[in-house]
Symmetry: C2
Subunit: 154 residues, 2 copies
């Protein structure tokens, strides 16, 4: 075990820590700005969170079941709806996580039939994409004069 | 090895992939905006890159040597200076990486005498902080009417 970088449980906890921070970022947005406000012509934060929701559980389901299904998920269009979906997915991730097959993160796969790579990379891409777009939300909040949640708290 | 999530070499490659993207983001900034332009009263991108430089190699040196030294690094104040420092650190990371002691990422430590945790977490924090602040740079670029580099290219 001495060559271990990050255990599977640590990776789950790392992701859920980021997800808790993203949840606080959603909460910090005023309802009226979540789906309308942007800087530089980029997507409003509510749309970016919709993308995160469309990626997270479907990716984990693909890793667990080796079947990739993205269809059927429509993102909520209200703050309450986003937060409810977020919490449902948080529970779903904790439920699915122990079902990741042994050694699965080192297997090659093609996520959603489009993105080839080892599944650890696909999973890290989802986490990194969340960090990336959440940071965009931080700038929107600052531009609106609102203090974003502390980055170092998870 | 079947319980491996991410190997040490994959983690190096993952980080260097992000660093290559951050380098392209620095390159995309016009000289005159790098240390002056901001949105919402946040730090200009050049300052954020300075923070990344102050964190990256000193953290890896702390992980490799078990000695934490942040003093003595002053961040460059020009685009050319940032890119040169970035490239030097990219080479330094590749040089230091194989010197990470066996099992070290699962050891507890206190980074720079201030931040306690397992060293994998400290390292991931540095990577996540880079993703977070680079995304801020993306918003600045868009607000300046400049297309940022593609997020999915590493």
């Amino acid at each position: 075990m001495s060559d271990v970088t990050i255990t599977l449980e640590q990776l789950r906890s790392h992701w859920q820590g980021h997800r808790a921070l993203t949840r606080r970022t959603i909460e910090a947005f005023p309802d009226e700005h979540l789906f309308t406000y942007d800087v530089g012509g980029m997507r409003p934060f509510g749309k970016l969170v919709g993308e995160m929701l469309r990626m997270a559980v479907p990716t984990l389901e693909g890793i667990v079941t080796r079947t990739w299904q993205s269809a059927g998920r429509t993102a909520p269009v209200s703050k309450r709806g986003l937060l409810t979906a977020w919490d449902e997915d948080t529970a779903r991730i904790d439920l699915l996580w122990p079902q990741i097959p042994q050694g699965r993160l080192q297997e090659e796969d093609v996520a959603f039939g489009q993105w080839p790579g080892k599944t650890w990379w696909i999973l890290m891409y989802v986490i990194d994409n969340e960090i990336h777009h959440r940071a965009q939300g931080y700038v929107y909040l600052r531009a609106l004069g609102i203090e974003p949640p502390a980055f170092y708290e998870r």
